[in-house]
């Protein structure tokens, strides 16, 4: 059953991604100032959404873990954090390349990229902490605490750095009152979000299963040594 879900998601993701790539390169129109580079937005934006939402969702699961002490929730939180870290890395790298074109520098300390970098650091610390603890229950407990701090802080970081620096291209999506991109790009961005969400779910499920297997190994090892 689980494998069937994985394969179905993979198929959907593959179809969507192919369609989106075709749309991105051949259908969408021109943007007068930036040349070809703006097409990267179609990956930069969904990755940003998935990264941030992932961190928040993982924080919720961490709270649930602390309440229920069920290690499955710890596995979910860890898996989501790891995958979100990957998406955050994509945001940082594509954002940096875009910045090189638009602003001429590889890194400009503007609000959203800086906030994403800080979140990346917080949750990289989370993963580092997990590697430093061998005992599963202690690892789950302590990393849940770090995740909660990280999640709460992520929200605060976003708001506060927005106040602190404002250079990022203003909100370009029409829901927030921006504009200035060629037609059809926004829709494609959301289609890409769907495709990447499927990809994210697949990766999280695989990673989660690895956590479960790892715990099974631990308990078997304890069984083997207990005689």
């Amino acid at each position: 059953m689980r494998d069937k879900i994985l394969y179905a998601l993979a198929a959907i993701a593959a179809v969507l991604l192919t369609r989106n790539l075709y749309t991105i390169f051949f259908v969408l129109g021109e943007e007068k100032n930036q040349g070809a580079i703006w097409r990267i937005f179609e990956f930069h934006f969904p990755a940003g959404i998935l990264g941030l939402m992932g961190f928040i969702v993982a924080t919720v699961f961490s709270v649930v873990y602390l309440i229920t002490n069920d290690l499955r929730y710890d596995a979910i939180a860890a898996a989501i954090n790891e995958v979100s870290l990957m998406f955050a890395a994509i945001v940082l790298v594509t954002g940096s390349i875009w910045a090189r074109i638009i602003w001429g520098v590889w890194w400009a300390w503007e609000a959203r990229l800086t906030s994403m970098l800080i979140c990346w650091l917080i949750f990289a610390g989370y993963l580092m902490l997990r590697r430093a603890i061998d005992e599963p229950t202690q690892r789950a407990r302590l990393s849940a605490v770090v995740c909660i701090f990280g999640g709460v802080d992520a929200v605060i970081v976003y708001k506060s750095i927005e106040w602190y620096r404002t250079l990022h291209p203003g909100p370009v999506l029409t829901i927030r009152g921006g504009g200035g991109m060629p037609p059809g790009w926004q829709e494609t961005a959301y289609w890409n979000l769907l495709a990447m969400t499927c990809l994210a779910i697949i990766l999280v499920m695989v990673r989660m299963r690895q956590e479960t297997v790892s715990r099974e190994i631990d308990s078997l090892r304890r069984l083997a040594h207990s005689f």
């Binding site: 580079i37 994509i90 594509t94 990809l199 990673r207």
Partner: protein, 48 residues
């Protein structure tokens, strides 16, 4: 398609896909390691 900055766009896409591929490879390596460990521990238990 407007070809200005095409090279950087290519780098951008390449970077994004590379990160995804690297992560998938990481997962696959971990999977293999876990499977080996699981088999080893299962054998240990069976020998009891």
């Amino acid at each position: 398609m407007d070809n200005r900055n095409f090279l950087y766009m290519f780098y951008g896409f390449l970077a994004a896909w590379l990160i995804v591929i690297l992560y998938v490879v990481l997962l696959a390596m971990r999977e293999r390691k876990l499977r080996r460990e699981l088999d080893r521990v299962r054998q240990m238990v069976e020998k009891r």
